[in-house]
Symmetry: C2
Subunit: 326 residues, 2 copies
């Protein structure tokens, strides 16, 4: 079983690579090759006794994907992307990486011929949705993205689905919830506070909350995101006929519920580290985001997420903090 991961130095990519290297197998088959591509050197997973190849390269540059696909990986996890904020500020880069990247990948696969038809697991996003939408968004909701990033994800989903329908690939696009709790330093994304109001207080540091407690959003842990990717990689081909773009399950929680979960795990002392500093701009941006989904198709296909925000916080403690808390 040969596996290629694009965007392997990103937060989810790194965790996916570590998990694959640790398990040494995917879908019951031993890994014979694990190739990790990113624009910066992907960390070699700790458990990498087996063949791990790290490739530094621009997936949208001529030849990069063609060379990697020439190895005929059985599964491609296509995670590489210019993130939302950058895709909005750098129009050309966003289209080049997020849209042309998918086209080049599909062209490279098709170029192999011989009925080569790898499973392609594409990390899409709930950013494909835009208002107006219902409080709970179903599987048949139109994709009306309000950002270039969301547009590029929606287009890449369509291209992957059409190539799959025509037998030129075997794709599944999974629309990830907002990943929470993101490990690492605070970032300046509009969504950053959803993670920082948990992460910083559990680390004894202050965090800023720019929105009211009744703001509701849709979450999954990094561990669960990796679980989605692995499950998507091993779904039987005939399970995907007719629908290859799947909204993932998640936890719908208000900021107030996030804070209650923080209190349950970190106590009042943690909650006291949240400083309220309302920010009209962030409130406006977040006000246009989805609050909850009825991810029926994905649930029927066996994708599973957390059942509460408290569980998401516990996973963060287990995976990132270890025994220091709880």
């Amino acid at each position: 079983m040969r596996v290629l991961v694009t965007g392997a130095a990103g937060m989810v990519g790194r965790k996916l690579a570590e998990r694959l290297a640790h398990e040494g197998a995917l879908g019951g088959e031993a890994l014979s090759q694990l190739t990790l591509l990113d624009t910066v050197e992907p960390a070699t997973p700790d458990a990498a006794a087996r063949a791990v190849e790290c490739v530094v390269g621009d997936l949208a540059a001529p030849g990069t994907l063609a060379r990697l696909i020439a190895d005929r990986p059985d599964v491609v996890f296509h995670l590489a992307a210019v993130v939302s904020g950058e895709a909005e500020s750098d129009f050309d880069k966003g289209y080049r990486v997020n849209l042309e990247g998918m086209r080049l990948l599909l062209d490279a696969i098709r170029g192999q011929g011989d009925a080569y038809r790898p499973r392609v697991v594409f990390s899409s996003s709930i950013a494909v949705f835009g208002p107006p939408f219902p409080d709970v968004i179903g599987d048949d909701q139109a994709t009306t993205p309000q950002t270039s990033y969301g547009t590029q994800k929606a287009v890449a989903e369509l291209l992957l689905a059409d190539h799959s329908r025509r037998g030129l690939a075997d794709g599944v696009s999974i629309r990830l919830p907002t990943i929470c709790v993101r490990p690492g330093a605070p970032n300046r994304a509009a969504s950053g506070f959803f993670s920082s109001i948990i992460r910083e207080p559990l680390n004894g540091e202050e965090a800023i909350l720019p929105v009211p407690e009744d703001v509701r959003h849709w979450f999954a842990s990094p561990r669960t995101a990796v679980g989605f990717l692995l499950h998507a990689a091993t779904l039987p081909r005939d399970a995907l006929v007719g629908r290859r773009s799947l909204t993932m399950p998640g936890v719908s929680a208000t900021v107030g519920e996030q804070i209650a979960a923080l209190r349950a795990i970190g106590g009042d002392e943690a909650v006291r580290l949240i400083r309220r500093e309302p920010d009209e701009t962030i409130m406006r941006i977040v006000g246009g985001w989805p609050q909850a989904f009825d991810a029926r198709c994905a649930l029927e296909l066996g994708f599973t997420a957390e059942e509460s925000f408290e569980q998401i916080v516990r996973i963060h403690v287990e995976d990132e903090i270890g025994s220091r808390v709880a």
Copy 2:
């Protein structure tokens, strides 16, 4: 007012060009230039006393669109497309014309800079929808195309919407119903019988009906399709904020209702010219097509369609047959 029409030699493009040349104006402004592009020589409209330029060229070839956009048309009707059957049989050609064509158009517009922001009216299609869908499809239905043609239309819609949101164009995509009654010779499209069971009998010729009378579909006349395009060209810019891909209104009719309309206008002698010859392949294809839409957004924006299939047949008689019948 300068106007560019791509795909001007097609059935709808020709009628649009004739109407524009006849009226000599669009949205109350006199036409100073009407440029007609197609891969074959577009017919010069009869009423063309004013500046009509016919250009034969491949819109996906380097430079074609850049040259035409350098004239800075105020309105671009982008109708050029590889049709459904050909986009399915010639994968590369379909993507090149239907998807790259839109990208080249948008790049050419953006390349002009200086806040040049023409209205782009894009002829999309109900082929962006695929089963499963409800009996009546609303404005928020997901686009899950089951053909490469539908995929290319859905992608082009997304690209046009994102460029418009960013102020790089001023686009509106209109999803046309199945155009009926198509003038001219029978074609081999799976949908051809919807027109031929009206057109041929009114012409004293036999037509073949390959499906049962309870098959239901979604129709508009060629005249109404041109009306949609003209209305889309003149909508105020602020009417389009937030939703630039619009399902057009139409008439939902069964084949039985089509035949009743034919009887009302052509009499029993016309209906007797329909020969039933069930075709499993066509039944299967047509079985996956939409039956009816609730096109609320378009109706609110003032788009209007026929109110009955009989009206569609009367328009065919008026526009194509003249006084010979009825």
